[in-house]
C-alpha cells in the first residue's frame, strides 16, 4: 500500500519538480532565507514576539515539551474548555499534546482526515504529510464505521462526507482550536498556516481561542519571504503549486468582525533546538517539513513510517530525533540509512542530510555503551593495522585463510552469496608482473 501510494505521489512530484525547475535559483533563495534566520535566531524570535504582542497576541516561551504541554493545558483549564480541535501539526505530535489534553480531562479531536483516522485507530501517523498513507480504503472504512456505529460503504466520497459531517459538529462544539505554524514572520507578526482540507481554517475561525504551537525555527525574517518559501514547500510536499489554503493570521478577531478567535496564543517551543546553533547540525533547523526527503528515501519507501517509532520519520527524522532527545531516543536511527544521499539532493533548503546522518553515527551517545566501546576498539585496532602496508598485508593474508569463518557474516549470507574468493591480491599480481 505504502509503495503504491508513494508511487502515485512520486509521479506527481516529478511533474511538479519539472515546473519548479523553471526557477533553479529558488532553492538557493530559500536556503539563504533559512540560513539568515539561523544566524540570529534569538534576535528574530525577539522581533517576532514584539510584533505579535503589538497585535494583541499572547506569546509563551516553552523550553521543554513538558513546559509547552503545561502552558496549553493551563490555558484550556483556566477557560473551562471541554473540547479542543486540532489541525495536523508535527509540533503538537512532538510534545504529545493530544494525550496531555486527554489526561487533563479534555476531549481532543484531530481534524485532519488522515490524522482523524489514525487517532480513531489508536495509531500514530506514518507520514508527515499524509498520516494515513499506510491504510487501504477498506481498512479506513472499518475504522470510521466502528466510530459511526453503522455500516459505511467502501467509497471515497461517502467516507469523506461522513467524516465531514462528524467533524463539523466538533468544530462547532470546540472551545479551543490548536494548530501548528508553518512560518511566522517577524516583521509583521503574522502566522502562516498551510492546509489542503480546510480543517486548519476551521480551527482558527470558529473556536473562541486559538493556540498555535510554534517550534522556534519556524520564524522567518519577513512576511515577503513566504512568497518564496510557500511555493517551494507545497511543490515539494504534495506536488501542488500552492496548497489549497494558506492562512496568514495577524492577531485575533478585530472590532466589528463576526468570526475569528477572541484570543490568540502562540507557544514558542525550543526543545533543545537552540543548543544546535553553532554546531554542525545547525542547518537541520532550516527544515520546512516538506517531506521530500521521506518520499525519495529508498529505506523509507520500503518500510512504513512506523518503523521509525518516532514522531519524525525518514531521513529528517533520523537526524532530528536523536538531536531533539539529546540522544536518548533514536540513537540507532542514523544507522538505518544506506547513505545514498537522495535526501540531501531532494531537500528544497539544501540540508546535507546524508552527511549529518553519517556524522551522527559518531556523535550520538550509544545507549548500550559497552557495544560502542567494543566497536571503537575493533576499528582502532583495524585502523592501526591498515595504516601500514605490512599490517595490511598481514591481516588480509589472515583474512584469506579464515575466509567464511568471520563472525557476523550470517547477516549477509542468509540472503546473499559472498563474492568468490580471489587467489591473489592485485598488489601481489602487480609486484610479480613488474618485478
Amino acid at each position: 500500500m505504502l509503495q503504491r501510494a508513494l508511487h502515485n505521489l512520486d509521479r506527481r512530484l516529478r511533474t511538479a519538480g519539472e515546473s519548479a525547475a523553471a526557477h533553479p535559483d529558488w532553492k538557493d533563495r530559500a536556503a539563504a532565507i533559512r540560513r539568515e534566520t539561523l544566524l540570529d535566531l534569538d534576535g528574530w524570535l525577539d522581533r517576532l514576539e514584539h510584533s505579535l504582542v503589538a497585535r494583541g497576541v499572547h506569546v509563551h516561551r516553552a523550553s521543554t515539551p513538558a513546559d509547552a504541554r503545561r502552558v496549553v493545558v493551563e490555558l484550556a483549564q483556566a477557560r473551562g474548555a471541554r473540547t479542543v480541535v486540532k489541525s495536523k501539526s508535527m509540533a503538537t505530535e512532538e510534545i504529545d499534546l493530544g494525550n496531555a489534553l486527554e489526561d487533563a480531562g479534555l476531549t481532543s479531536v484531530e481534524t485532519d482526515l488522515g490524522e482523524y483516522i489514525v487517532q480513531l485507530a489508536g495509531e500514530r501517523p506514518s507520514h508527515m504529510i499524509t498520516p494515513a498513507i499506510h491504510k487501504t480504503l477498506p481498512q479506513i472504512r472499518d475504522v470510521l464505521a466502528k466510530e459511526a456505529g453503522t455500516d459505511l460503504a467502501v467509497d471515497r466520497e461517502a467516507l469523506t462526507a461522513w467524516a465531514r459531517d462528524r467533524l463539523r459538529g466538533e468544530f462547532l462544539r470546540a472551545d479551543i482550536g490548536i494548530t501548528g505554524v508553518n512560518f511566522a514572520a517577524a516583521d509583521t507578526g503574522t502566522l502562516v498556516l498551510v492546509t489542503n482540507e480546510g480543517n486548519g481554517r476551521f480551527c482558527t475561525t470558529l473556536p473562541r481561542v486559538h493556540i498555535a504551537v510554534m517550534p522556534v525555527e519556524k520564524v522567518i525574517p519577513r512576511l515577503a519571504d513566504a512568497g518564496i518559501l510557500l511555493p517551494l514547500l507545497t511543490t515539494h510536499a504534495t506536488g501542488q503549486a500552492l496548497s489549497n489554503y494558506v492562512t496568514m493570521i495577524s492577531g485575533p478577531r478585530r472590532a466589528g468582525e463576526v468570526d475569528g478567535p477572541d484570543e490568540l496564543h502562540v507557544v514558542f517551543l525550543d526543545n533543545r533546538r537552540r543548543t544546535l546553533l553553532g554546531t554542525r547540525y545547525e542547518e537541520m533547523l532550516a527544515c520546512i517539513r516538506c517531506g521530500a526527503c521521506l518520499n525519495v528515501c529508498p529505506v523509507y519507501r520500503n518500510v512504513s513510517g512506523h518503523a521509525y517509532d518516532s514522531v519524525y520519520s525518514g531521513p529528517m527524522g533520523k537526524v532530528l530525533t536523536p538531536l531533539l532527545s539529546g540522544g536518548t531516543e533514536g540513537a540507532d536511527l542514523p544507522y538505518g540509512s544506506t547513505l545514498c544521499h537522495a535526501c540531501s539532493d531532494a531537500c528544497p533548503v539544501k540540508i546535507p542530510l546524508g552527511d549529518m546522518i553519517l556524522a551522527l553515527r559518531a556523535d550520538v551517545p550509544d545507549p548500550h555503551s559497552g557495544a560502542r566501546r567494543r566497536r571503537r576498539i575493533f576499528w582502532t585496532v583495524w585502523a592501526r593495522a591498515w595504516s601500514t602496508p605490512s599490517g595490511y598485508r598481514l591481516t588480509t593474508a589472515l583474512g584469506r585463510v579464515s575466509r567464511g569463518r568471520v563472525p557476523g557474516l550470517q547477516a549477509w549470507t542468509s540472503t546473499r552469496e559472498l563474492p568468490r574468493p580471489a587467489r591473489e591480491s592485485f598488489r601481489d599480481r602487480w609486484a610479480k608482473e613488474h618485478a
Partner: protein, 173 residues
Amino acid sequence: MIDVFVAGLRANSCTVSGPMNTDEARATVVERASAHLLVACNDDVPLPALVDGLRQRGVEVLTPGDPAWAERLADAEVGITGARLAVAQPSAIALAAAPGAPRSTSLVPSVHICVVRVDDLLPTLADAMIGVAAGEMPSALTWIGGPSRTGDLEMITTLGVHGPRAVEIVLLD
C-alpha cells in the same frame, strides 16, 4: 497573465467565468445562486445591487450584519465573497477578513463564489507578498487555490472534505 491564472485555477478544480462587465457578472452570480434557498453574501463583493438581484429571484440572502448570521450560516449552501487580490503563479485568490467580510463565508457553505477584479490580479505570489507585507495586514488573509481537498484516502484526491466542494471564480473587467 489572465490565461495563466484561469488555467491554474481550472487545473485545481475551480470553475472560472469571465472576464466580463459588472452587469454580466451580477447576472452570472445571480443565475448560479438562484437554485439555492439560502445564500451568504459578504459586503465586499464588488457588484452593486447584487443582494437585491438575488432577493428578486426569491433567494434568501444572509449578510454579515444580520444578527442571525452566526446561527444561520451553517444552513447557507452558497457563500459569495470578493477578494483583496489574486495571483497568477501559483494561481490563487486572497480574501481579507474584515467586519463585512467574515472568514467563514468562504469556508462553511458547500459552494464558494468569488468575484475577482482583473485589476487586482498580480503575476506571482513572490511579487504579491512584497506588496501585501508592506501594507496593513488584516486579522486573517486567506489564500485559496481551489476546493477543499484531501489525499489522505490512498493518496487519491477527494474534494470537499471540510471546506467547499466547489469554488467558482467570476472575473470582473
